[in-house]
């Protein structure tokens, strides 16, 4: 097991190194420099001033040298400073935005599980029943509906017409003056729509996957055995079938981490939520290399870590992998 783990870890490190290398060069292949936001079509930017900027930021050096500088700083956990005019450390900018993105995504993930798993199980147990068809249609509608459209419609109906939920933001203006309970209520009201939109759009993956693994599990011989020895149907489904069927789902969850941050871009922009998705989008448009690289690093670490966990999980569950 130990050799297996260390082998995996070395693999991951190499992959990680590769990701940073490819990302860095790809970003630099895109037309434009981080300083363009300032200098493009700006009469105040004479060639001399532009040269000062590029020198200060080290942009006058060739790209492979800059990559090594970046790597050197990164080894000291320094992501560099943002190229936007605040020139704050990239990590500071991400750090203050990370909690809200993680919060919304983990709550969403929780609800996706809570709703999608029963839907999947139910569909598998009663395939082609009316309720199977209705829920299947429902989750596909959620999948097919563009997130931004659904969000705007809900904002209009619940926020403007009925006026029962706030349209955007994460806190009311008078948040500081509220009691603890009302603070909680206020946050819940603000987070309801973003979470609803995320959950509704993501039910399909897990529920459909659940349906098929569950169906497979139900057709196994041990289910026949369970039923034959006279166990109640509930116990057969939830104790015997579900336990086996849900394992692959947990693996998928590990792999869906990067999707969380990229999916955040849309709803964070529409609902004016100050998270990392919004930051990534702005950084990409402004060619803010240090921010982009920092986010790439975080997402790839999360993904690779998810992979590693999935591998370990499999290794624990299936001895054949360890032996190999």
């Amino acid at each position: 097991m130990l050799t297996y783990l260390s082998k995996k870890t070395v693999e991951l490190l190499i992959t990680f190194f590769g990701i940073t290398l490819v990302s860095f060069f790809l970003i630099n292949l895109a037309p434009g420099k981080p300083t363009d936001v300032l200098s493009d079509l700006n009469p105040r930017m004479t060639p001399e001033i532009r040269a000062i900027y590029e020198k200060q930021w080290g942009l006058d050096k060739p790209v492979h040298i800059r990559y090594f500088i970046w790597l050197k700083n990164f080894s000291k956990f320094d992501f560099g400073r943002s190229f936007s005019s605040d020139s704050r450390p990239a990590w500071d900018k991400i750090k203050e935005r990370l909690p809200i993105t993680i919060l919304i995504n983990s709550i969403s993930m929780f609800f996706i599980f809570l709703i999608a798993v029963p839907i999947g199980v139910h569909s598998a147990v009663k395939p082609n029943s009316l309720s199977d068809k209705v829920t299947t249609a429902g989750v596909f509608v959620g999948f097919a509906m563009p997130v931004f459209w659904l969000a705007l419609i809900l904002q209009l109906v619940l926020g403007v017409w009925l006026n029962i939920l706030p349209v955007s933001g994460i806190k009311s203006l008078n948040y500081e003056n509220l009691s603890l309970f009302h603070k909680f209520l206020d946050s819940t009201r603000h987070l309801f729509l973003p979470i609803f939109v995320t959950v509704f759009g993501s039910l399909v993956g897990i529920s459909r996957y659940m349906r098929s693994t569950m169906q497979e599990a139900l057709s196994q011989e041990y289910i026949v055995t369970a039923r034959a020895k006279g166990l109640p149907e509930g116990k057969v489904i939830y104790k015997h079938a579900l336990r086996n069927a849900i394992l692959p789902i947990i693996t998928i969850t590990g792999l869906s981490v990067p999707g969380l941050i990229s999916g955040s871009v849309i709803f964070e922009t529409i609902f004016a939520i100050p998270g990392v998705g919004q930051l990534l989008y702005q950084a990409a448009m402004a060619r803010d290399i240090h921010i982009i690289m920092a986010e790439v690093v975080i997402v790839s670490i999360l993904t690779l870590f998810g992979n590693l966990l999935a591998d370990i999980g499999y290794a624990l569950a299936d001895p054949r992998i360890r032996v190999k």
């Binding site: 037309p31 079509l41 009469p43 105040r44 605040d86 609902f271």
Partner: protein, 542 residues
């Protein structure tokens, strides 16, 4: 986000919100005496980045720092320069020396007195090699800057430089006592500034809002409002929905929102709308190095083939005006009597024929030497107004036998690969116009190098001379003459076809009184805005 990527100077970034000629859409009813209290919630699509004016080049940052900082001079509501922190100034006979006399007793918001040393400190900071400021150029022109006494500051130039006076605005006023020992590029002051202005910085919640509160000791008197909150909402549709729930007090509307979506009982009751020309214009620019477009007759023919009124109606729903030159109508440098090209397709065809273009094979497209008249208009992706404009141009030019293709490009690719490399036939772009009429960088024939702004390669020795003349005198009449003549030449030569000046369309909650629209816009006197006591909304304990 990249709706208007233009020229930016600090004092005209504001144009969309703050400065411009105003025509009130509502008359005011002043029934109450001004009362103190309440806050204004302003919607902003972008977050500020750096509140030190000289370090930021984005409109969002200047919008916030504009509340906090003052300059030695500022533009008054009728677009003339007046003293702000300076009581007065003298310009020497030869135009080389400007001496500012500062107002006495002005305090920084931390209580320390503001003096000429602060101005000198600001100046030294901006010209410092290490300071990452995009505005250095104006200050590199200064030969000598000196503090004569606590309240007198003098600058000497090599050559008279008319835009110099305006450059002593809020860009270079920094509190020396706070920043002297700090690294300006990394200081925390950029997110927690202290100025001399009507509002003090209170709190900045990243990604959500910036909160400012009234400066009790403001030298022009405490503002009536208790505070200003700038809320960051990136999505324009969400911004409008927030307005509908009265979550915002002041935003800029799109033409569609102005004309249709706000024409309801609810909006009439709760908001006031304003409308005035913005300090921007949109143009169709030609690559004058191109073998077809170097011929003036071709450019004029295209001008005759376009109906600018139609474009204003079609893409701006009438919320703008036709443009005839690079200045905003009804401002002092604007020359109303230049050659105009009324819609006349017949004339266009004649000019093209004169230039040798004829439809010989009867397919409706003109030919010359076996080549069809077909070209591509480039514009930046995501700017729907410009794309609609291009589409109308495409239709009108097809009528006189010119085939136009439209291509949209991502901003950076557009600028780096096409504009800078001069690889284009025609472009649709826009400029923000400074309150100073100097446009040397855009029209002078030496400004055609890589990354410079005369990317259409316009070359006219008379314009070169006039540009030089215009920036070397402080005499407004002489400057006016120069810029009037430049506009005549531009209208004749047509390096650009000037299309339209869009209107600024702000909407403000009707509970605010004291808004006095002026040529510069509505925001210039925000410290005099107030809400009658009975209508105050945000009155929670301080």
């Amino acid at each position: 986000m990249y709706f208007y990527r233009h020229l930016c100077r600090v004092y005209f970034i504001f144009s969309a919100l703050f400065f411009s000629v105003s025509i009130p859409a509502h008359t005011e009813n002043q029934t109450d005496n001004p009362s103190y209290g309440d806050k204004i919630i302003i919607g902003s699509s972008a977050e500020a980045s750096n509140l030190i004016p000289m370090l930021s080049s984005d409109g969002a940052s200047h919008e916030v720092s504009g509340f906090i900082f003052n300059g030695l001079v500022k533009y008054d509501k009728d677009l003339t320069l007046i003293g702000d922190l300076a009581k007065s100034w003298d310009i020497s006979e030869d135009g080389l020396i400007i001496t500012f006399h500062l107002k006495k007793g002005i305090k920084w918001q931390d209580g320390v007195e503001f003096t000429a040393d602060d101005v000198l400190f600001g100046y030294k900071t901006i010209i410092d090699e290490k300071t990452l400021s995009a505005y250095k150029e104006d200050y590199f022109q200064v030969k000598k800057a000196e503090v004569l006494d606590k309240y007198t500051f003098r600058v000497t130039y090599d050559k008279p430089y008319a835009p110099a006076l305006a450059s002593w605005g809020s860009l270079v006023i920094l509190p020396r006592h706070i920043l002297e020992k700090e690294d300006i590029n990394k200081t925390g002051f950029s997110r927690k500034p202290i100025g001399t202005g009507p509002f003090k910085f209170k709190e900045w919640i990243p990604g959500q809002k910036v909160m400012l509160e009234a400066n009790e000791n403001y030298f022009e008197g405490r503002p009536y409002l208790d505070g200003v909150v700038i809320r960051i909402i990136p999505d324009p549709a969400t911004t409008f929905l927030e307005l509908k729930t009265k979550g915002l007090d002041w935003i800029g509307l799109s033409p569609l929102q102005y004309q249709k979506q706000t024409e309801t009982e609810f909006f009439r009751k709760n908001y006031k709308k304003f409308r005035y020309p913005s300090f921007t214009y949109t143009y169709l620019g030609f690559n004058l190095k191109h073998p077809w477009f170097c011929d003036k007759r071709i450019r004029q023919a295209i001008a005759f083939a376009l109906d600018k009124e139609e474009i204003v109606k079609g893409v701006l729903l009438g919320m703008g005006s036709v443009s005839t030159g690079p200045y905003v109508p009804d401002t002092w440098p604007y020359n109303p009597n230049v050659k105009k090209y009324e819609y006349n397709p017949q004339k266009a065809k004649e000019l093209l024929k004169e230039a040798g273009w004829q439809d010989t094979d009867g397919d409706g497209i003109l030919e010359k030497n076996g080549k069809k008249f077909e070209f591509t208009i480039l514009t930046n992706m995501g700017n729907t107004v410009r794309i609609k404009t291009a589409t109308i141009i495409q239709y009108r030019l097809r009528e006189i036998g010119i085939k136009v293709n439209i291509r949209q490009l991502e901003w950076s690719a557009f600028i780096n690969w096409f504009i800078d490399k001069k690889r284009f036939e025609a472009v649709i772009l826009g400029w923000s116009i400074g309150l100073d009429p100097d446009q040397y960088d855009i029209w002078h024939s030496t400004k055609i190098k890589d990354k410079e702004l005369n990317f259409v390669s316009f070359k006219n020795s008379e314009v070169d001379e006039l540009l030089e003349k215009g920036r070397r005198t402080f005499d407004i009449e002489k400057r006016k003459q120069a810029y009037f003549r430049i506009q005549e030449i531009l209208a004749e030569e047509l390096p650009y076809i000037f299309l339209y000046v869009p209107d600024s369309l702000p909407i403000v909650s009707s509970r605010f009184e004291g808004i006095k629209p002026a040529p510069i816009g509505i925001g210039y006197n925000i410290e005099k805005w107030y809400v009658p006591r009975r209508m105050q909304k945000y009155t929670i304990a301080k």
